[in-house]
Amino acid sequence: MKWLRPFVLCFLLAGCVSIPGNLLVLPSDYLSAREQQMRKFSTLDEKQVLQAGAGALQDLGFTIDKSESELGIIVSSKDRTAVSVGQTTLAITADLACALMGSYSNLYGQTDKMQKIQASLVVSPSLAQNSTVVRVKFQSIVWNQMGQVSRFETIKDPKIYQDFFERVSKAIFLEEQKI
């Protein structure tokens, strides 16, 4: 009966997942993340900045899910394909090779199928000067062909943030000029 012991151990250990201890610890790089996600605009008109932000999100193809003007929040998202030709070809080739050798594999099912990109934008007054601060954050969720979530990620590419803020400042400029 000794061989049963590992199984019993497995049952005991297989309980619910434990919660990591550092779940709500401030990450060490939070100040640099702030720098990346925040921009200051020299206007006190929060509403105008919020509208410019909504416009910039729409420019990038996001649809607005929720908005609250009192706290200056816009939550938006877009659903897009995540299929990559290279990944799919590789998976199908591997699956075919396995089939030819008489075994079964479903690598194709694990390839990326679709993604949801979420963006939340917060506008708040800056206490430092007569200006308004915009903070934006992008996250994406990727599902595979079998409909399972394959990965989550917070988008950290500085180019995306720069591009976004350029659009916001352009929109503020355009609105100032009333074009």
Partner: protein
């Protein structure tokens, strides 16, 4: 004989497993692992300010610093909801801000990790430490 004992053990193991598992779906609706009072004290803090809007903005900032994506908020009700990911597990958190008395605001936070409620005091302590830092930053104009 060996086969028989194998099945007996298997039956026993499955019985133990089903009995020791999590509560059934209906029991989960009103279940908490901690007493209500203990949970409330773990999840709440009072702050010596009456500026609800500023406090809510600090909460939003803190959640964003902690890598949460803001999902919803309401100034009237004083609620903020955020979501983040830990590996492929979803972490959801909501924070409420309300008046405690004439001089103080009460901030209460609660979080869930995947399918589990977070009821560990240290985790909430970490959150309030981060919130204190954010208020400090706001007060000292670093943004």
């Amino acid at each position: 004989m060996r086969l028989k004992s194998f099945f007996l053990v298997l039956l026993f193991a499955s019985l133990v497993f089903s009995a020791s598992g999590c509560a059934t779906s209906q029991q989960q609706i009103l279940s908490t692992d901690q007493s209500q009072v203990a949970l409330r004290s773990i999840q709440s803090r009072a702050f010596d300010t009456t500026d609800k809007k500023l406090m809510m903005r600090s909460v939003i900032n803190t959640l964003q610093d902690l890598d949460f994506l803001i999902q919803d908020s309401s100034l009237d009700l004083g609620t903020v909801t955020g979501q983040k990911f830990h590996g492929i597990t979803t972490v959801k958190m909501s924070v409420t801000v309300k008046e405690r008395n004439e001089k103080q605001l009460l901030v209460r936070a609660n979080a869930q990790f995947g399918l589990k409620a977070v009821e560990d005091p240290k985790t909430y302590q970490d959150f309030f430490v981060a919130l204190e830092k954010s208020i400090f930053l706001t007060a000292h104009q670093v943004d």
